[in-house]
């Protein structure tokens, strides 16, 4: 080490690499559920996120042709736009959505694949997810895949060629936090691609826990958008992700059952 500063700080090269592209922020955010486009822009700005998810939906025909578009405020020049396949319940619909998204974004091929299994839980249909992932990877997409917190399935998705695997922490939009941290840990320890917790984070400490488990990043939407003050929560999440990452890299102290005095026992005068 050339200097103490270098030694003590988070390594400068601690970047997140997804599909060959390097990112400094490990917080990925969605753009749904905000009050308006101004709030969307301000919250995303405060989050420091570089990768921002969007949904693909029918254009409103005949209604306010001049109305501002999401991509006017979340510009593809500034952000990496990550189109999702939210709302798809079959592999075919997810693949169609990704192809439309790639065309919409001028050939940009990074996508978030999610194929849902049921409306109540929004849990992934893993059979359809695997099938869609195979088709998309063969078609040249870089696939970041939303999946359950099943370590075997996470590995299969990696083997298929997904560039990132994103297990849920809890159901989408539930804000319940990480329900099965040992599964997340197992997935992280066994992975050769970035693992990001996607869905279920409710507050900043949840995000920090995900990062302390060794996750490479966290993707969230509702935890920020549904906060009383979304812009402030976006800032909190940014700090939680950074703190959790540094804590992971620093390596926590071992847990002990009994006390261990922090002040020396020698030299007492009483």
């Amino acid at each position: 080490m050339s200097s103490k500063a270098t030694e003590n700080n988070t390594p400068r090269e601690d970047a997140l690499i997804i599909g060959g592209t390097t990112y400094r922020s490990r917080l990925l955010v969605g753009t749904g559920k905000y009050k308006d486009l101004d709030e969307t822009r301000d919250a995303i700005d405060a989050s420091g996120a570089e990768i921002v998810t969007v949904a693909i939906r029918r254009t409103n025909i005949g209604q306010n042709p001049g109305e501002p578009n999401l991509l006017d405020v979340i510009s593809p020049e500034r952000y990496t736009i990550l189109p999702n396949t939210a709302g798809c319940y079959t592999a075919d619909d997810a693949v169609r959505t990704c192809r439309l998204a790639r065309e919409l974004l001028d050939g940009h091929d990074l996508v978030k694949l999610e194929v849902l299994g049921d409306e109540r839980t929004l849990y992934p249909d893993v059979v359809q997810t695997l099938s869609a992932a195979e088709t998309l990877v063969a078609d040249g997409f870089k696939v970041m895949v939303y999946t359950s917190d099943d370590p075997i399935l996470a590995k299969r998705l990696e083997e298929i060629g997904c560039v990132a695997v994103m297990p849920l922490a809890a159901p989408i939009g539930s804000g319940l936090g990480i329900q099965n941290r040992y599964n997340v840990l197992e997935i992280v320890e066994n992975a050769q691609v970035p693992i990001l917790v996607d869905a279920g984070v409710g507050t900043a400490s949840d995000a920090a826990i995900a990062m302390e488990l060794g996750c490479d990043g966290v993707l969230m939407n509702t935890a920020i958008a549904a906060a009383r003050n979304p812009v402030l929560m976006a800032s909190a999440m940014k700090k939680a992700i950074e703190a959790g990452r540094e804590s992971f890299l620093a390596g926590r102290m071992p847990k002990k059952r009994y006390a261990s005095a922090s002040s020396p026992l020698e030299g007492t005068f009483f």
Binding site: G30, T31, G62
Partner: protein, 67 residues
């Protein structure tokens, strides 16, 4: 005239209409969008040449807020 189903709604158009013409008629020229015809992507580079068949199902999509 012939019928197209555009974003789920019936629409009467001229047989000569191109995809570029449809986008223009809808006031969407220059917007960031993508088009699918009968479940198959129609690349923007083919908008000028593409003619429809009666009953074609056309989807015109854009990016909106989502997670």
């Amino acid at each position: 005239m012939m019928e197209l189903i555009v974003n789920g709604e019936s629409r009467q158009v001229s047989e000569q209409l191109t995809a570029a013409g449809l986008v223009e008629d809808l006031g969407l020229t220059g917007r960031r969008l993508a088009v699918e015809v009968n479940g198959e992507l129609l690349p923007r580079s083919r908008f000028d040449q593409h003619h429809f068949n009666p009953g074609d199902r056309v989807e015109i999509v854009q990016a909106i807020g989502g997670g």
